[in-house]
């Protein structure tokens, strides 16, 4: 059993009310399923982006135990 770290940024951080949480996992789990596991009652906003270990991924991508997964809105830097 290993931890998957879950991060939220910007408007998603405010929507969830926290910047970080975690779940325990014994095997790979889809990014969408990670969201559902930690936020069972909140739908992920449609324009949201996902990163696994600081690289862009999709909701279908598999998150491994020990990974860091982040959910955030479209980026607006520069």
């Amino acid at each position: 059993m290993q931890t998957i770290k879950v991060l939220y940024f910007a408007s998603l951080r405010e929507l969830i009310g926290t910047s970080e949480t975690s779940i325990e996992a014994t095997g790979p789990v889809g990014a969408a399923a990670v969201w559902k596991a930690v936020n069972p009652s909140v739908e992920l906003p449609g324009s949201s982006l996902v990163a696994i270990n600081q690289s862009y991924a999709s909701l279908d991508s598999m998150v491994q135990p020990g990974d860091e997964v982040a959910f955030f809105p479209p980026v607006t830097g520069g």
Binding site: A10, A51, Y56, A70, P73, P74, V75, T76
Partner: protein, 150 residues
Amino acid sequence: MTSLIRVQTDALEPWQEIAKFQTDNFNGHTDFGATATFVGTMRDLNEGDEVFEMTLEHYPAMTEKKLAEIVVEAESKWPLLHTLLMHRVGIIKPADPIVLVAVWSAHRAAAFDACRFLMEALKHQAPFWKKENLVSGQSRWIAKNTPGIS
């Protein structure tokens, strides 16, 4: 070849930073014929509303990784000699510089192209988010960037 990437909460003085980067690393070098730079500065008006200040949030570990990746990508596409990329985070006030991109190359086409590429890649890929605090007292997250092509 020197590349410097920096994300900072301190005020950014772009022209001083460019001059210092050049002096520190390759002053008097005779291999670059072209320097192209871009500076993005905070305006106090957005979508018709007066903006009092902005909060710039980022995802530090990913920002670092992503900015390094886009610099490597630019260096693979164009024969760049040096690259400087700086970005503010934290509380930003109108007229504050937010972002600085500067590239040095032998010829101007590569410098112009790479500078613009870096700026667009940064805006579309680097995990920064802007929240505007309006003069009216309201605040809002910026939903998306303005287009880079007119």
